[in-house]
Symmetry: none
């Protein structure tokens, strides 16, 4: 029976930890800094998380939860169904823009997990099972649809196409974030537009 207040405290700790992890990395973060950032005593952290590592597990669980909310096959199918009148390109542009916004909003949590999973087997296997596999399912689903449409599109292994698309998408997204210090960056809408246009033009028969 979590009280309002204690829920609030846990949240403060979680947010503080996420901030500090994303700025210093898990190992570089100290519970002392997290407690200061959260505005609680250092000991309080350990009433909510048994160990520092446990906070990281909490971050992972939150990541999975958020991911499942915004990225799942059902909602993808729903979007496609609801936009039957639009071309697949148009639909994907909508999806990617949405994904980029989610990406931006959840950048810190993603960054932390992507970095730390290298060093923590439990985080890694959970990531593969709960995130990566879902990600692959979704992109595979899209390009399987296209493969069916044999007349218009080239006959390329849909899994390979799916791989390249995913690589391109995340490559472009991460590249944008790594250029945050630049001021004349191109708008994301324009970049997605061109990315999708080139890619789909590329996989079409002439």
């Amino acid at each position: 029976m979590k009280s309002e207040k204690s829920k609030n405290t846990q949240e403060k700790i979680f947010n503080a930890a996420l901030k500090v992890f994303s700025e210093k990395g898990f190992s570089g973060a100290t519970t002392s800094e997290i407690s200061k950032e959260a505005g609680v005593a250092e000991g309080t952290i350990f009433r909510y998380y048994k160990t520092k590592k446990d906070i990281l597990r909490g971050v992972m669980l939150e990541y999975v939860e958020r991911f499942e909310e915004f990225a799942n096959l059902e909602s993808l199918k729903k979007i496609i169904r609801e936009n039957k009148d639009k071309s697949i390109e148009e639909i994907l542009k909508i999806i990617l823009l949405d994904r980029y916004k989610v990406f931006e909003k959840n950048y810190n949590i993603m960054k932390v997990i992507h970095y730390e999973m290298q060093f923590h087997e439990d985080i890694k296997s959970m990531y593969i099972e709960k995130i990566r596999e879902k990600e692959y399912q979704m992109s595979n689903y899209i390009f399987k649809q296209i493969k069916i449409n044999k007349e218009e599109y080239k006959n390329i292994d849909y899994k390979l196409i799916s791989r390249i698309f995913r690589g391109m998408m995340f490559g472009v997204f991460f590249q944008r974030r790594s250029e945050m210090e630049k001021d004349n960056i191109i708008p994301i809408e324009k970049e997605i537009d061109v990315m999708i246009d080139v890619f789909f033009n590329g996989i079409k028969k002439k």
Copy 2:
């Protein structure tokens, strides 16, 4: 006057540090583990590097050195000149395959620097100046060439095309490495082939 012996010791420490950094991250690595891995006393490390952070700087310097060796505008131009009879697609396939091999060989050092630059301003600014800018120059150079060839290619801002291409390339490369536990992974040659074909088909006029 570095003796053979001492050069050897420094190398052992460097390699050990690189290995441990890539397995545990900079903060998660301990000088004790590095010394064991290198087969030297812990104190010996500090004859070669003033501080642990200094080892990371050494890794960065080595990265820059290696990068400048294999990735510079001159050698890129040379490859293009030497392959004048081949199509731009063919040339890029050669370049990308080469880059992937370099990427694989230098994966650890790249991974370490890409991750750690988030947490160390000095590493980050050096990375931007010495690596990223050069990378951008090179890909921009390639797509500027194509732009000139107006008849065949669509009229898209070459910098934007260059961005998307780089994103795709690194996205695909990193995706491969993050899937190392998979056994049925597609050969890199095939993946590059399709990637280039789709991308160049995509930017051509119909």
Copy 3:
């Protein structure tokens, strides 16, 4: 909001550090020994002092504080005022005896600071500003009074007389302390008596 308990811990550490510093010198002292002497864990020291050097700074601050308490121009003037009926010699005997008692009580802290200021510029400049200058002001004040009394005293530069007096006083004080292993040492009262008598007889006109 320092609790009683933590104030007590800091004091234990301070006293232990002072003892060990005075027995081994700053560089020769180890935080391990200080912690044992203080009866706390070694790590506890660093909750109260950021670095070992910081403990020395703490010692310096304490020295200044104690010095300002017992040695300031106002209280000197007060003593003189209150003893108007006594001769200057009698007054100075009272002052010197008091100073010697303070000297004995604060011998360790004085010794540590006097020695260490040679090696630490920050300690030295603080010493000069906060201690030596005040010391000079006070002795100068006394001998300026005497100078005014032209009839009785020789016409010697009061600053020079003041210098020699200070030198004699501290020389005698330190000589006593450096002979602690001797058992037949003359009582301080007698030594001060003779010192003052000789000195004032010496500066008087015949």
Copy 4:
């Protein structure tokens, strides 16, 4: 059979050690810095001194040697004999000026020994036996002479007078050295003049 070269090396090490000890203290000095200052390899030090502590013992021995050269009862008596026509004040002024010059020349070595003897019993007992006792003997000798001259001088315990005189002398000498940063310091000749005049006037009968 010390060769010229090796004698030279030992001397270089000795001088370097003395310099570094006087700047950093014995514990604060490192053999690495001494070797750099001496212009020899670190290992070379240990061919001439078994341990770092041994260098300090060497410094002590050198101090004793120098002291015995310039300060011994025989030469004191000789000076007095040779200046029979001069007053005791005049003779002491000559002696003190000479002692101050020796003091200045040997300041570093004195400073090091005076500081370190607190922390090293062997150094301390050697100091007491070889230096302090001789020092006391000499000043006692002088004031015993004066005591004999009962008519002119007050009847004060010659040992006490001797103590105060020594305290004054070293107090004044050290005070001068501790004011090295000042530029308008009074000449030593003048200070000695006044010091002796005041002191001897002070111990005379009216």
